[in-house]
Symmetry: C2
Subunit: 205 residues, 2 copies
C-alpha cells in the first residue's frame, strides 16, 4: 500500500484557510485532519483526540524535548503544536493528512517534514484581502494596515511552498487542492518506489 | 495571461494512449491537440492542419534543418514529426496543448522542451498489458513476446517522466490527467512569474 501524503495548507490571516479546509473535509471524507496538541483547558464539548490532544505543561515540554512535534508555538500563555506520531501513523496506514496552519508554522513543519505537499492559499488580490480583513468589523485602520503589512511579508514566503492556490471562490479553491492531491499521488517518484513489484507482475503473465 | 502547458502523454504500445487522449479531449474541449507534420499522402477525408500538416519530403527536410520540429522519425518511408511553431503559438495564447506520442519520441521532445509535463501511462499490471496486446487478435506468440519485452524496456524509461498514471479505467485515468494539468497550473513557480504584478495590487487598495 502507498503511504499517504501530508498536505500542509497555509496562507496569510484572512485568506480563508479554515473555510477551505472545512469544505475540503466535507467533500473528501477520507482526508484526515491533523489534530493539534495544546496545554489550554478544554472548552465545553471539545473531545480529546478529535478537537485537540489536551496535555499538561509538563507533558508538552516533554514532547518538545523528545522532538515529538512537527512544530509548536506559545500563544497567550498556552502551547499549541502538531504531534508527529499522529501524522506518521495516519500516513503509514495509507491515509492523506491535511494540516491547516499559519505561514511561519508551515515553514517549521517543512524543516522536519520536507516531503509534505506545501500549499499556499492566496487572495485573488491584495484589495480583496483588505476587504476581507476590514469586513470582520471592529478593527481600526492602524490594525488593518498592520495586518496587511504582515500579510504582504507572509506572501513573500510563498517561494518556500510547492503550490499557489488562489481562493477566488471556495469551490474552485477546493477543486484545485483536490487536483493537487490526486496529481501528487501520480508523481513518478511515488510509482518508482513500487516499480520492482510492478515489473514482477510479468512473471505471472 | 499565463502561458499554456505542453502535456506529453506517452506509454508503451497497447496501453491505451489514443483512447485516453480522445476521451480527454471530449471532456476538456479547450485542450489543443498537437498536430503532426508528415510526408505521407493525405487519406480520404483528412484535413490539412486538423489531422496533419502535409509536407513534401523537401519541406520536411528543411524543417529538420531549421530545427523546426520538437521530434521526428521516419516510419515505412515517410517522415512524421511535431512542429514546434504550432505548439509555441498555442502556448503563447494561453492554451494547453496535448501531445500523444510513443515513449522514444517523448524523450526527444524532452530534450528540446524540458518544461513540458511528461506523463507516462501504465497498464494496471503487465498481465493486463499482455491481455490487451493478445486481445488484438492476429499476432502469434513470438510477436506478442517481442512486444511485451519492448514494453518492459520502455517502462524502464518512466524515470525520465514527471508522472505515472495507471490506465485501470479510462474515466479514472482521464480524471488523474486532468488533475495533473490543474495542479501544474498551480505550481508555485508559475505564480512567482507574475508575483510582482500581484503585489502591485496593494497600491490600488
Amino acid at each position: 500500500m502507498n503511504r499517504g501524503l501530508l498536505i500542509v495548507l497555509s496562507g496569510p490571516s484572512g485568506v480563508g484557510k479554515g473555510t477551505v479546509c472545512t469544505q475540503l473535509r466535507q467533500k473528501q471524507s477520507e482526508l484526515i485532519y491533523s489534530v493539534s496538541a495544546t496545554t489550554r483547558t478544554p472548552r465545553q464539548g471539545e473531545i480529546e483526540g478529535i478537537n485537540y490532544f489536551f496535555k499538561s505543561r509538563e507533558q508538552f515540554q516533554d514532547m518538545i524535548a523528545r522532538d515529538a512535534l512537527l512544530e509548536y508555538a506559545e500563544y497567550v500563555g498556552n502551547y499549541y503544536g502538531t504531534p508527529r506520531d499522529f501524522v506518521e501513523r495516519m500516513l503509514d496506514s495509507g491515509k492523506d493528512v491535511i494540516l491547516e496552519i499559519e505561514v511561519q508554522g508551515a515553514l517549521k513543519v517543512k524543516e522536519k517534514f520536507a516531503e509534505g505537499v506545501f500549499i499556499f492559499l492566496l487572495p485573488p488580490s491584495l484589495d480583496v484581502l483588505k476587504q476581507r480583513i476590514t469586513g470582520r468589523g471592529t478593527e481600526n485602520s492602524d490594525v488593518i494596515d498592520h495586518r496587511m503589512s504582515v500579510a504582504v511579508d507572509e506572501m513573500n514566503l510563498i517561494r518556500y511552498y510547492d503550490y499557489a492556490v488562489v481562493n477566488d471562490e471556495i469551490e474552485a479553491a477546493c477543486h484545485r487542492i483536490q487536483s493537487i492531491i490526486t496529481a501528487e499521488h501520480c508523481r513518478k517518484e511515488r510509482f518508482m518506489a513500487g516499480f520492482d513489484a510492478f515489473k514482477a507482475t510479468t512473471e505471472k503473465a
